[in-house]
């Protein structure tokens, strides 16, 4: 599997300043993983996310946010570990 340059782990809700900071540092060879309140981005009609986007299933299910494969690849914690290994660098925002 092709490695990612950077995995960005984003647990901030879309209104948090860290959310914007993270997105402004994404590039095409990176991956974005939404966790915790970050998964609210999938329910936020005002947002468009680009590139390789992942979201933690447990956090979506907890919040009753529907999984939408057209926006994000929904993964479990095992796959989250695999992503941290597949990336050369991991940044938690």
């Amino acid at each position: 599997m092709k490695p990612f340059h950077t995995l960005h782990i984003l647990n901030k809700r879309p209104g948090h300043p860290g959310f914007k900071s993270c997105l402004s540092c994404l590039e095409s060879r990176d991956a974005l993983l939404l966790t915790e309140n970050g998964v609210l981005a999938l329910a936020d009609k005002g947002l468009t996310l680009e590139g390789a986007v992942y979201a933690l299933s447990a956090d979506l299910v907890a919040r009753a946010i529907p999984e939408d494969a057209s926006i994000a690849n929904v993964i479990d914690y095992d796959e989250m570990v695999a992503l941290t290994i597949r990336a050369n660098r991991v940044i938690s925002w």
Partner: protein, 116 residues
């Protein structure tokens, strides 16, 4: 491998920035290359003439003086955030280099820490 420690919260309202600074100082103390970046609300660390005794805290500009003495290689500030908060040569402490925070900028750092 270079480490970037990002301070994105203003001083005094909470301890997050101080704890980020301690991380940068510890890296420097153990001879690990570390750069400190102030962005977002964090640029307010850089204002001249802070008098935190008024709220029973120590002013952070002294801690920043320690940073370069300890060996933190660079103190950087996000250009846009400085503009947003009205920080320029007259209002900012010395020794700060402006930078643009984006993917290009981050590429140089193998390890990036952003406490919240």
């Amino acid at each position: 491998m270079k480490t970037l420690v990002i301070i994105n919260q203003a001083p005094y309202g909470n301890w997050s920035g101080r704890e980020a600074l301690d991380m940068a100082l510890s890296l420097a103390a153990f001879d690990q290359p570390a750069t400190l970046l102030f962005t977002s609300d964090g640029v307010n660390w850089l204002r001249k003439d802070q008098q935190a005794a008024a709220i029973s805290q120590k002013s952070v500009d002294r801690n920043l003086a320690a940073a370069s003495i300890f060996g933190v290689s660079e103190l950087l500030a996000d250009h846009q955030s400085c503009h947003r908060f009205g920080l320029d040569d007259h209002t900012m402490i010395e020794g700060i280099t402006l930078a643009n925070i984006n993917a290009d900028f981050l590429r140089a750092y193998g390890h990036v820490i952003s406490l919240s």
